[in-house]
Symmetry: C2
Subunit: 517 residues, 2 copies
């Protein structure tokens, strides 16, 4: 498997102390690890007995209740041909068949970036962070809430490119509502390809837009490279409960046939779209995920596919989605185990909140989601930064506040170093009772790398903080976002590739109507 040769040169920011300093200040650069690798096992809260009950229930759902595959005759034929009992659009999987079909899905795969140093491993003991996906609104650098534009989209892509907390450029970081729906996917894909060299997600809002994603990826990476490698991953949401529609199935087929990855993701507001219980939601999610993964493998055995879960719990008093509560965390940790047993990569989590501003509510709720996400060993994390208001708003300030937390997570899952240096018995012997360790040889040798340090936290005294204007964290983040955008430099791209992409976009723009669907 060869590496793509589309970058003119490696980033001018090399390794060493300067690079580390730049990384700390969000200055980007290739010295950051391209993804997180765990040193400790994932947190497991589901007993093996409970797991087997849920797996049995998922098989019952697939066999007895069935899954709807809507408005897609080809999908129904494919499923009928392998032994499913198809009644109208409802597909009943004989017990064990879906799981058996999932067996050809890879346990882990590489998603290539145009900069080989940014390629990510999705699966196993790896975790990849991608930003928020889908908001029609932004909260901008002045703190105003307004509709998102293509300019905002580009700014988010730039910030995500620059911040070492993110491993992945994501997809619809916000909806550029100033462009027609029929055409905006072209500019979005191009922005990821041109403004960043991190891996990206593809369009799923129509099969033709999935094909545009594949075609533009071929221009960027080369036809042969794309034929043999995975260069994009895309989000195929089920209409829970237990329903796939033709738009999603159509996009799924385009990607799978081209060996590009999809995430088959039940999107569940528990209480409305699944039962008002964790175990019931787990069984339904597993059934939906297995049906989607099995279908992907029927389209192309061995195609990369990710078990997705997005679960929020509904306020049973108001009907509003709530975040940072215990039940979705349990669903996440439970699903992570179900995915491991199925032998496929897992997507879930994020920095989720219903808050309207980046206040304490936003941070508590986000932390309560991203912490189980990392502990549960989630492999691909969408919405890892920038998400506000239940996904309606992409917030510049919160993007950086969340990213700062993300940059802590490798350390969190490193495990505990018990090497001789980690044990530090020399320091203890050298220092002794009642003394301090600041001057010990061990401290001198280790202080630079010893402790993770936040870029966004203010740890100064009240007096210093006050004298500097008593600036709260969301305002510090806005200031930093503006500074980063000022300092942004595009990663190099071969001009002929850039011309090829613009030619393709120009031709597609001419061919497509302007409309809002």
């Amino acid at each position: 498997m060869s590496e793509p040769q589309v970058t003119e040169r490696r980033s001018r920011r090399g390794g060493g102390r300067d690079a580390r300093r730049q990384l700390r200040s969000g200055g980007g650069g290739s010295a950051s690890a391209p993804f997180i690798t765990r040193g400790i096992p994932p947190v497991d809260i589901l007993s093996d007995e409970a797991t087997e009950i849920i797996e049995t229930n998922a098989e019952s759902i697939l066999e007895e209740i069935g899954i709807d595959f809507r408005d897609d005759v080809e999908a129904l034929d494919i499923l009928r041909n392998v032994g499913c009992d198809v009644k109208g659009e409802r597909v009943h999987f004989p017990r064990g068949l879906a799981r058996q079909l999932c067996a050809t899905a890879p346990a882990s795969f590489t998603q290539h970036a145009r900069n080989p140093a940014r390629s990510v491993e999705i699966g196993g003991n790896r975790t990849v962070f991608a930003p928020v996906y889908g908001p029609p609104f932004v909260r901008d650098l002045e703190g105003e809430r307004r509709y998102a534009t293509m300019d905002d989209f580009c700014s988010f892509v730039k910030l995500v490119f620059m911040h070492p907390g993110f491993h992945h450029s994501g997809g619809t970081v916000c909806e550029p509502v100033d462009l027609p729906v029929t055409k905006r996917h072209l500019e979005m894909i191009y922005a990821h390809q041109r403004l960043s060299d991190k891996p990206y997600m593809g369009s799923v809002t129509a099969p033709s837009r999935a094909q545009d994603t594949v075609d533009m990826s071929k221009i960027l990476f080369g036809d042969e490279f794309v034929a043999n490698n995975t260069v994009c991953v895309s989000l195929i949401n089920a209409n829970s409960p237990m329903t796939w529609d033709d738009t999603m199935l159509g996009a799924l087929k385009v990607y799978a046939r081209n060996n590009q990855a999809v995430i088959t993701a039940p999107f569940i507001l528990a209480g409305a779209m699944s039962p008002v219980s964790v175990a019931g939601t787990l069984a339904q999610t597993l059934a939906e995920a297995m049906s989607g993964i099995a279908f992907t493998q029927l389209v192309r055995p061995g195609a990369p596919v990710v078990f997705g879960s997005f679960a929020s719990s509904m306020s049973m008093q108001t009907g509003a989605p709530t975040f940072g509560t215990p039940e979705p965390a349990k669903v996440l940790l439970g699903c992570a185990k179900l995915a491991r047993r199925l032998g496929v990569p897992f997507r879930s989590g994020g920095s989720l909140t219903a808050a309207k501003t980046a206040d304490a509510q936003a941070a508590y709720e986000s932390a309560n989601t991203i912490m189980p996400t990392v502990q549960g060993g989630v492999n691909f994390v969408l919405h890892a930064g920038g998400w506000m208001e239940g996904g309606l708003v992409a917030d510049y300030a919160k993007l950086l506040l969340d990213a700062d937390q993300l940059s802590m997570m490798q350390n969190m899952v490193n495990g505990i170093d018990v090497s001789e240096n980690g044990q530090a018995m020399d320091a203890l012997r050298e220092t002794g009772p009642g003394k301090h360790f600041l001057g010990s040889s061990h401290t001198q040798a280790n202080f630079e790398t010893a402790f993770w340090r936040s870029d966004m936290a203010d740890n100064t005294t009240f007096e210093q903080w006050s004298s500097e204007g008593a600036v709260e964290s969301h305002q510090r983040a806005r200031t930093k976002a503006a500074q980063m955008l000022d300092a942004y430099e595009a990663p190099p791209l071969d001009p002929s590739i850039n011309d090829g992409l613009r030619d393709f976009i120009g031709k597609r723009m001419e061919a497509l109507p302007d409309s809002e669907f």
Copy 2:
């Protein structure tokens, strides 16, 4: 073991739906569980091999480096008599001796509250939340930062009494600097005894103040009850590294001799007071804790004692303590395992932050501490709410924001219900593909208790939130704190007991000088 008979009647707030509603609104009442009981095992990030390395290193510290017991001849005699090698004030424990002496410490004990329904179990699979301890400043209901007063102290005790998130009234919830140091402990203990019926902590700033705590507890609970039961728990901090001073040893001896509980708590700013590594900090903490617990057991075998750990990591750039970072979380999870293996209850954690206001930084950092605290199975959690600015400030708003998070934690460690009702297969069969679950019989039967619900989060739409004044979470918390204080009613107390307490305080006030040490 009889229960104390000091409440005139049970709280007028009984069980049922009304009580639950009141609890949700922070209205207090005895229907809340008096502590958290885990349904799932604690998170463990320390391999058995690594654990043994650290335990071996702790023995080496105790044997080779030694622990200083300063200005306490009696303590040195006690330790010499059991075979320690005492050189000056430095005590060397023969390998294995300290661990052996710890064996008489109970694995779990009951701390009685004057309201028996509020008594707490400290140890095993239980978690008890107590508020912030020690700040000389408050951030008040108007958002102003100023020195704390006795009025503030009483307000914090009232709020902690009323909020079901807290199980314990704590100790020095703030320092009432308007009272002389020599006398303020009397009013602090009385406030806990009179304004709350949750269990409380004792004074440790002098052996005589520890004795006052015991004497006042005897008035409240009766001499015989206190002789036979534990009614207070007190915080005995080591002067890390590896040093105990006479003030702390003196208070420890008073409490242990009276069968009252102490927490032997190394207070560590890693990098300064311990090596700049997790494994080194763990070994030192274990050595310090074992030396303190062993000494407690020599004073009175079987006396209740808690393995304490408070670890923050220092910014190696500025010297400032930092919170919510990975290393202290690892120390916490590691120490929790070391304490379980030692067979004693464990204290650590809290809702810790260096932030100056209850902004996103405050919430991220607090969540990053309280989540590992709960996951690690910490038994006694000081600073579980209200802590700001590295412990310099007790914040009214944050007290309630944190408490809201605490009220989620029982649910978080319940585990996943796989009963027939939890599995919800009937709901799945009744609903089927493409429908919603809102009207299903299962939802109707479970919606009231199905999902944890925050009291402080705003989950409404942006439009509704805006029309209601766009109030951020810290301001909502301030408003609620003021409402709660308006609605406060003291728990009933036998007037003769109250008179006895006031008589004692009056006599002690006369006997003690006014001074600031």
